[in-house]
Symmetry: C2
Subunit: 344 residues, 2 copies
Amino acid sequence: MDEISRTEIGSLGEFGLIEHLTKNNETVQAGTILSVGDDAAVIDQFGRQCVVSTDLLLEGVHFDLMYTPLMHLGYKAVVVNLSDIYAMMATPTHITVSVGISNKFSVEAMDEFYEGVYAACERYNVDLIGGDTTTSKKGFVISVTAIGEVAPDKYVTRAGAGEGDLICVSGDLGSAYLGLQLLEREKKIFLEHPGVQPDLQQQKYLARRILKPEPRADIVEWLRENNIMPTAMIDVSDGLSSELLHICTKSDVGCVLYEDKIPIHDDARAMAMEFNLGSAACALSGGEDYELLFTIKQEDYEKMARNNDISIIGYVTKKEEGVYMITKGGAKHKLIAQGWNAFE
Amino acid sequence: MDEISRTEIGSLGEFGLIEHLTKNNETVQAGTILSVGDDAAVIDQFGRQCVVSTDLLLEGVHFDLMYTPLMHLGYKAVVVNLSDIYAMMATPTHITVSVGISNKFSVEAMDEFYEGVYAACERYNVDLIGGDTTTSKKGFVISVTAIGEVAPDKYVTRAGAGEGDLICVSGDLGSAYLGLQLLEREKKIFLEHPGVQPDLQQQKYLARRILKPEPRADIVEWLRENNIMPTAMIDVSDGLSSELLHICTKSDVGCVLYEDKIPIHDDARAMAMEFNLGSAACALSGGEDYELLFTIKQEDYEKMARNNDISIIGYVTKKEEGVYMITKGGAKHKLIAQGWNAFE
């Protein structure tokens, strides 16, 4: 390491670091259609297309084993990768799962984790085809790579949004973040008063959203069935504002988002109040919802309006018009990425 | 975790654990040709075949940053995966690289690491197409997935060795292990006497074998050019005896290995003497050589004999005859896997 010139990674942030490290990345394989910089890469396999995505999950950073059942963790580790494949409008087919485990884990604990992995594979019709298993000095390490397929050039990137397109999002946002706040609060109470058992029965929805998310395979299927080809798509892992900015940057456009159109679940709204947080702020900056955020052409509006599980939350503008949110009170705020920065 | 029934992972070992966790793994995708249990998986992509392999490398387990230059580490993280693809007689085309890094890393340090990654990509004509970048509470975490291609059904597994086949290995064995011993010794000396700078100039070969291994793309190419289709193949990552046992188990055969035929480099022989180790033992149990171990039909003997970089070290027998090594003194020893167990 060069002691004279030292740039802190935190100063670039996760996306800045990725951009820095890959800015000179030249691809030489004729089959490389889409490289670093989207939810997944696309490679041409003899005229058909294969989609690849990978995630690294570390104990203490991405999950806390104190309130994360291993079965749920195994399930989630798989589905967050499948979510990236669906966000390309592709269908996941295969995964590899690598784990680094410390001595504190028993074979029975690993069985639980893999029960979750297999449950996700079964539900989403995906085969586990490989992986690596090793010891870890400290902490549980999980690396999953998902492979999917898509008909030639039928994948959707972050880069195709055009002026006038409608911005859509599936399901509801902010629930996963509030579920996490809830679990963190219960953990704190438990650590201070070990006798008090947390009662999460009243908050099943929020707990499920953070512990056992589901990728929106159903939305991708519905879009296909209804012949709607989104112009851009991304899954919401880091919060709505961060994802929307990704689409705007990659598509070279601006947008207007309406705060009152952001779909928020009643349980999330109530919990936000309990925590004295704005529920829209939780949706904008929370992350881990694994919903699909996408843009469609205006001509698809009628079709889209028939799906109650998809909300239209704004529209795409010219780049020069910037990226804004209109608040409930009618004020216009510039959107900034306050999503989760893994390096802060 | 079930406190009543607790099985220590160490009691199964890495391969036992993998077998345990995947014994009920059912594949549903028609395209899954070869799943867990070989150097790589094979999936059918619309009639052509795609090969996938993945490795997880953890600081303090797989590498020591005290004597591993980051550039070499980036290079090695890629090539150990490429080695798995070549061990299927396939050609690597794409990789994903995920890293978990702690605050102690600077952007400049990551640049060094990626310089190694890109150097490996360039040398082996492979595209970096994705990855994940995150913070790590402790230790540097690297996960690489390699994807390759192979003409339909032209891949070679560990399972095809037949009675009478010749056992071949490329290059030389044990050097990486002795290189590692050397670096560990120098580290210890340095920690005790920080003023003494290690002089590795005399041991460039051994240091290179552990720090910057090369996968045997050249051997795969030579085999193809000479129309030799190995009956079974594996890369030597865990030591010759462990790899040979994998082939015998998967192929349901026995074998005879000749100690005096095991290729050992002069530098390795000398260093083994210095450490008071048997050089054959280093080859048998050392690992990390990333040479190719394979079996061929006897009819290919003449062709094989023309390649000075390939040694014929034994032959395949019936399963009932067991797995043996004939020592230099003529004694017959049962081979047992003393390769590296990540859980010990």
